[in-house]
Every structure is written in structure tokens, then in C-alpha cells.
């Protein structure tokens, strides 16, 4: 009986899988366009975040404005953070008709390659002309998939910069000189002092040893372009001296008890508001310390790990794409243009209605009213252009200037704009992913001795076909490079 049942389950899973993959083709209906007979077209917009109580109220205001400006109304639906990945994928695969959808990272690239999104280069020249002017060109360049752009990135910090963040109370207590901190190795004396004198504090809030490369997928996978030297040749970053040095240092820290014993496997998120750590690593942006200190309710201070760098990941963190199933892509583009260039609309969508959700002070800064936290708490990062957002009372006056400086100071990664198509090496990648998942967390948290395990890791990667994948990446990279020139 058990066997039979198992067989049944297996069979149905298989059948479901085949059907699922067979069904990813898009439906192409562009015939009936709304808004032609003077009727306002309703733009269906799906974006990420916990659904808010006052969405309808705010969008009644939004619609008043958009009806007048572009003869369209907007129906915005939020999908909760955790549901997003699965639900949006099912919606896209089923060919459901909608106009605009939030997307990011590899999801964006895959769906663009699959044809789920509309290439918007032409729209950007016409309906989106004003939009093109305000967005940092690095965003537009870095998000091209096979030479075409498939979505509007939110104009914000274009680069990523990891920083070491310290608990300022402890830094002051022991008079540490943070200006000397440049590398992972420089942390050692501080960690030692903390370990010896502060019993309730774990010196390192679990992080992975930073290894600075331009990764093709993510920092777990053994494919990356170096930032220095031969930046056009893809290598296995774990097969370098740099990796050995970093992992050895981390192992030393682990043995000394600077990390929790279960660092490699723990899913502990180290919430900021519990003061049980001394140093951590995180992605930064201008004035991040201020934000963090505010949410932690004690002061933190940061030191950069690296120079701000524009990588594929940092330009594709938040994108609004126009669906291939949209019945009126022109209107969708008009709306996105308005959203990203019109301060009134942008602030209305983000902060809610003035005097209901926020109030404006005399100097132009704003303050949240309780109603915003309770019933219109929107994620700014996902919605669009940051530089036309009102500043909060507690924000530094030059916040957006600092963002612009930050963007200007950033260096471009060698593979910015290169989107690898993994289809030819899918089976190799699957086994490499498994091997990386097994070794990388243990090595990068120092839980195992790299002298022994790093060669083992590389050996296994070789058996799984890392060379073949490297070759394929190199081939596609060279093609991409020559097509650019």
C-alpha cells in the first residue's frame, strides 16, 4: 500500500512538473486597448510588501490625480514579503493579465529572458522620455538583458558597499581606533579585548568572511571576475590565495570563540535591538549608521569594508517591470514616468495623504502620523525614484546630495550588465550549488580548518564540472563584451 501510494505521489509530481514547465509561454493579447474611447484605463499594479489598510483610501487620491494627468486609474495590490517569490511566479507563468509588477535580481533576468516582461527601450524614448532623464544611466545600462531593458529600476543608491558596523558603546569604552580598521585581520585585537572583558557579548554577530570579487551569481558560488588584474577572465574565487587567507583568519576567530559555535548552520538574524554583539557586516548607504542607531536604540558606527561598487546585484535591487500581458503598455509607461518624476504623486504613493498619514512642517520636512505606521506603512525602496521624496524631520538635510555623491564615487564592476544564461550548464550548476551549500558556510564562518577543507572543496567542485561552467561563462562574457564595442 505504502509503495503504491508513493508511486502515485511520484507520478503526480512528475506530471505536475512537466505541465508546469510547458506552460510558461506568454499570451500575447494587445488587441483591446483601454483608454481609447476616452474611458480611463485601469492600470493593474502588483508590488511587494504587507497589504495596508488604507491602500484604497490613498489610491482614491492617486486616481483623482492620474485621471487628470494621464487619463488612467491605478489598482495597486501588494503581495506579502514572504509570499512574493512563489505567488508572483505563478501569476507570471499563468499569463494573468496585469500591467506593472515589482521584480528584482535573478528573477528579473530570468523572467526577462523568458519573455514575461516587455522590452521598454522604445517606450522609454517616447512616453518615458522624462523618466529616462532622471534615472542614473548606470541603472539603465546595468539592467540590460541581451541588449534590451525590461523594467524601470528605482533611482536610489546605485552601488553596494559593505561596512563593518560596531557597537559604539563598546568602541568608546575600550578606546578602539576604528580608523585603523581596513581588513578582516585588523579586527583581531578588538575581538580579543571584547571576548575577555564582556561576558554577555558575542564579539562577531555571525558574518561570512568578506571575499572581494565580482560574483556572477552570488558570493556562495565559485564564479567571479577579479576587481584587479585581469578583470576579463572569470575564475574560481575559492581557488585563490585571498580565499585561503580570509578563511584562515576566520577559522582563527572561530577557534578563539569570537563566533557562536553554531555559526555555520544557525539562522539567527541578530536583531539590532538586542545588544549582544560587537561587530557585524552589512550593506550600507549614506547615513546608514543613523538609521541603524535609530532602530537599535543605541549608537552604532561603521567602517567601510570596500569602496562603493556598482555590480549587477546593486542595480537590480528594485525594478518595476511592464508585463508582456499588459493591454496598454503605453499607459503603464506614462504612469511609471509620472510616478518617478512627479514629487506629489511619488510622495502620495509612498507616504500617504498629507495631514492624514503625515504632516508637513514649516521647513518642508515631514513627520509620520500614527495612521501611517498603522495603516499605510509602505516600503520606499520598491516604489521608485528616491530623490524626489520628502525628507523626514530627523533626516540630515543633505541626505539626497550624499546619495548623489555616493553614486558618483562608485566604481563599476567589470561585469556590470553581463547577464549569464545558465541553460547550457544547468545540471553542472545544480551539483555545484549543492557542494557550495555544504562547504561555503562552514569555511566562511571559520567553523572548519581551511587547510584541510578548502582543497577538498575545490576538488569536489572540479569533479562537478566547475571548469565547464567557467568556460561557458567566459564564452558568453566574451560575446557580450564584443557586442558592446
Amino acid at each position: 500500500m505504502m509503495k503504491k501510494k508513493l508511486g502515485i505521489i511520484l507520478a503526480s509530481v512528475l506530471a505536475a512538473g512537466t505541465l508546469l514547465s510547458a506552460c510558461s509561454s506568454k499570451d500575447s493579447s494587445t488587441s483591446e486597448k483601454g483608454g481609447k474611447n476616452g474611458e480611463p484605463y485601469e492600470i493593474k499594479w502588483y508590488t511587494i510588501g504587507t497589504p495596508q489598510k488604507d491602500t484604497e483610501k490613498v489610491f482614491a487620491e492617486v486616481n483623482k490625480y492620474t485621471k487628470e494627468k494621464i487619463n488612467a486609474t491605478v489598482k495597486m495590490t501588494q503581495i506579502d514579503w514572504g509570499d512574493w517569490a512563489q505567488k508572483s511566479q505563478v501569476m507570471i507563468n499563468s499569463g494573468e493579465p496585469f500591467d506593472i509588477i515589482f521584480t528584482n535580481g535573478t528573477d528579473y533576468v530570468q523572467n526577462a529572458q523568458k519573455g514575461a516582461f516587455l522590452a521598454i527601450d522604445d517606450l522609454l524614448e517616447n512616453e518615458g522620455k522624462a523618466l529616462k532623464e532622471v534615472i542614473n544611466p548606470d541603472f539603465l545600462e546595468g539592467n540590460k538583458v541581451d541588449g534590451k531593458l525590461y523594467g524601470i529600476p528605482a533611482n536610489k543608491e546605485v552601488a553596494r558597499q559593505d561596512v563593518y558596523t560596531f557597537n559604539k558603546r563598546l568602541v568608546d569604552k575600550y578606546n578602539f581606533d576604528l580608523s585603523k580598521v581596513k581588513t578582516l585581520q585588523d579586527l583581531e585585537p578588538m575581538l580579543k579585548t571584547i571576548k575577555e572583558n564582556e561576558s554577555g557579548v558575542t564579539p562577531i554577530a555571525t558574518f561570512k568572511a568578506p571575499l572581494r570579487f565580482d560574483y556572477v551569481f552570488n558570493n556562495e558560488m565559485p564564479f567571479a571576475f577579479p576587481f584587479e588584474g585581469d578583470t576579463d577572465t572569470v575564475i574560481n574565487p575559492f581557488d585563490t590565495d585571498a580565499a585561503m587567507t580570509q578563511f584562515e583568519t576566520m577559522h582563527k576567530y572561530y577557534k578563539a570563540g569570537y563566533l557562536k559555535e553554531d555559526a555555520a548552520t544557525s539562522k539567527d538574524s541578530w536583531p539590532m535591538d538586542v545588544e549582544n554583539w560587537f561587530v557585524r557586516i552589512g550593506g550600507s548607504q549614506p547615513y546608514a549608521d543613523l538609521l541603524w542607531s535609530r532602530s537599535a536604540k543605541y549608537e552604532v558606527v561603521s567602517v567601510p569594508v570596500e569602496q562603493p561598487t556598482i555590480v549587477n546585484d546593486s542595480v537590480s535591487g528594485s525594478i518595476q517591470a511592464i508585463s508582456a500581458t499588459s493591454k496598454n503598455p503605453e499607459k503603464a509607461m506614462e504612469f511609471l514616468t509620472l510616478l518617478n518624476t512627479d514629487p506629489y504623486l511619488r510622495n502620495l504613493v509612498d507616504k500617504g495623504i498629507e495631514d492624514v498619514h503625515y504632516k508637513k512642517n514649516e521647513d518642508g520636512t515631514i513627520e509620520d502620523l500614527p495612521a501611517r505606521i498603522e495603516s499605510y506603512n509602505m516600503p520606499s525602496y520598491s516604489l521608485g525614484n528616491h530623490f524626489i521624496l520628502n525628507l523626514y524631520k530627523e533626516d540630515p538635510k543633505d541626505k539626497w546630495e550624499k546619495f548623489k555623491e555616493f553614486n558618483a564615487s562608485a566604481v563599476k564592476a567589470p561585469s556590470l550588465g553581463f547577464k549569464f544564461n545558465s541553460d547550457p550548464v544547468r545540471s553542472e550548476l545544480a551539483s555545484i550549488t549543492n557542494i557550495s551549500k555544504e562547504f561555503y558556510p562552514a569555511l566562511a564562518t571559520g567553523s572548519v580548518d581551511p587547510e584541510e577543507y578548502l582543497p577538498k572543496f575545490n576538488e569536489k567542485l572540479k569533479e562537478a564540472g566547475v571548469e565547464k561552467v567557467l568556460k561557458e561563462i567566459q564564452k558568453q562574457h566574451d560575446e557580450w563584451k564584443s557586442s558592446k564595442e
Binding site: G82, V274, N276, R294, S295, N377, P379
Partner: protein, 292 residues
């Protein structure tokens, strides 16, 4: 039975029961642990700091909680009734020899056990063909029919309702409806109760249909609410950068203890109602195998 054997069996069963019930007790303990204590010391059997913060947090979101409770109750009750009726109608029909196409319809049900439409086609049918998205029916109808239960009930009807009883009823002039509700139904009560229990559990614990078809917070059932919280926490862990920059958004997501408190609240009703079904459950399983 020898007293020693009896004692050994009792001890073994006792240990087994303990193993089964221990995780739940642990969950209850964690739900009463203070959040700070969890972050610093991890989960503990006897926490250093007790607290009812988790439950007062749940009380603070009572609107959504009661709403979700209501949704879950409605879909469980309405769903179970619809499901039991549909399944018993179908399986009664295919269990009767005078129904000419019974083999075809049995095969039709059986076929769906081997091959399902898959996620995306199902989604298309529900949202674009039936247009059930964001209605309560989207939570009820997709789960109402279950081929496996149909096969179980068919066997049950075949074994426990003999043709001779039905014939005598027919001779007395009873209509088919009357035969079904007044004779077949009472005779098959144990089997039906088993199916009812299964589908009650199915509806109560279902979160996936809500994930697919529901965007409205007012229609989110309890288990789905729990799943959302869990999934949001997972999202936070994986996207540390986003969550650090958008701290105010994530402050409202409850942490470990509140999660456990929700598990307690979501599990209790079904745990309490289980003993009422149990007697049918046991007789349903035994009678199904023994008669005739």
C-alpha cells in the same frame, strides 16, 4: 496478559506518547518565554525569563486574528459539509451496480490521483475561468473533492451497505434521495465521520490555496496568517540589507515567541475537537475492514 508484558507495553506506549506530545509542550513553553531571553540563550525548557508579551502582542492584532479565525471557521464548516456531501454522492453512485457508467466514473476519479493538472493550470482555471480570486469560494472549492476519499468511501459503501436493504426500501416505495439520507447515511456514519475529520483537518490546516488566491487581508485564514509571518521572517533573514534599511516595516513582524503563541492558538481548537471525532474514527477504520 502477563503483568510484566503489560507493564513493558505501557511504558513503551508512555514514552511514545511523550515523544509525540513533547514538541507541543515545548512550543507552549517558548510562547511564554521573553523575546530577549530567546535571542540571548536560545530555546530553553525552563526559560530564565517568563513573559506573556507574545500573547499581549497577539491581543494587539486581535482584529486580524479574529477575522482570520472567522474565515477559517467558515471555510472549515462550510467546506466540510460541501466536501462530505459531494464525496459521498459521487462514491455512492459509483458503488451501486445498477449504475451503468460506474467504471468510467471510478476511473475518472482515479485518474486524477495519478495525474494532476499541476499548479499553473489549476491557477488559471480558478482565477481566469472560474474567477474565484479573492472570494471565499477560492478557499473552499479547490479542496472540496478528493479522489482518494472517493475511493475510500466507495469501498466503504460497497462493504457496509448491502444491496438487499436498499431493495427492501425500494419495494416500500422510498425515493432515491430518501434511501440515501435515511438508510445509507446512518449506516455509513463511521465512514462519513472519518472523511469529515480528514477534510476538517484539511481545511483547518490549509494555507496554500490562500497563498495563491487571496490578496485581501480580510479573507486570510488563520494558518495562512501564520505561514505569512513565518515566510516574512524568512524573507527578512535572507534579505538583511532590505530589512535593515526598512526597519520600520519589519518592526511589526512578530518574533519567535509570538510565532509559537500563534501556533498554540491555531492548534488548540482542532486538538480539543479531535476526541469527539475519535470514536467514529476508530470504528470507521475497523468496520470498514470486517463486515461481510
Amino acid at each position: 496478559m502477563h503483568p510484566a508484558v503489560n507493564a513493558i507495553i505501557s511504558v513503551l506506549l508512555g514514552i511514545f506518547t511523550l515523544v509525540c506530545i513533547f514538541p507541543f509542550i515545548y512550543v507552549v513553553i517558548i510562547s511564554f518565554t521573553s523575546e530577549e531571553s530567546i535571542v540571548r540563550n536560545g530555546f530553553e525548557l525552563i526559560p530564565k525569563e517568563w513573559s506573556i508579551d507574545a500573547y499581549s502582542y497577539l491581543w494587539s492584532m486581535k482584529e486580524q486574528l479574529f477575522q482570520s479565525y472567522g474565515v477559517t471557521l467558515i471555510i472549515t464548516i462550510v467546506g466540510t459539509v460541501i466536501s462530505v456531501l459531494m464525496i459521498s454522492f459521487y462514491s455512492y453512485a459509483i458503488s451501486r451496480p445498477q449504475f451503468k457508467y460506474r467504471r468510467f466514473f471510478t476511473f475518472l476519479a482515479f485518474f486524477t490521483m495519478l495525474f494532476s493538472g499541476g499548479l499553473v493550470p489549476t491557477y488559471i482555471v480558478v482565477t481566469q475561468f472560474l474567477e474565484l480570486k479573492n472570494t471565499i469560494w477560492a478557499l473552499i472549492l479547490p479542496l472540496a473533492m478528493n479522489a482518494f476519499y472517493i475511493i475510500i468511501m466507495r469501498t466503504f459503501f460497497l462493504k457496509s451497505v448491502s444491496e438487499s436493504i436498499l431493495e427492501s426500501a425500494r419495494i416500500d416505495g422510498a425515493s432515491e434521495w430518501r434511501i440515501f439520507f435515511q438508510i445509507v447515511f446512518p449506516l455509513s456514519l463511521p465512514g462519513l465521520a472519518t472523511i469529515a475529520l480528514f477534510s476538517t483537518l484539511g481545511y483547518w490546516n490549509d494555507w496554500f490555496t490562500a497563498l495563491l488566491y487571496i490578496d485581501e487581508p480580510s479573507l486570510v485564514p488563520l494558518q495562512s496568517l501564520l505561514m505569512k509571518i513565518e515566510a516574512n521572517l524568512e524573507f527578512m533573514r535572507q534579505n538583511v540589507d532590505v530589512s535593515l534599511m526598512q526597519q520600520s516595516l519589519f518592526d511589526t513582524i512578530p518574533q519567535e515567541s509570538a510565532k509559537m503563541a500563534m501556533v498554540v492558538i491555531a492548534t488548540l481548537p482542532i486538538a480539543v475537537s479531535y476526541p469527539f471525532f475519535q470514536k467514529y474514527f476508530i470504528s470507521g477504520l475497523t468496520i470498514g475492514g470486517v463486515k461481510e
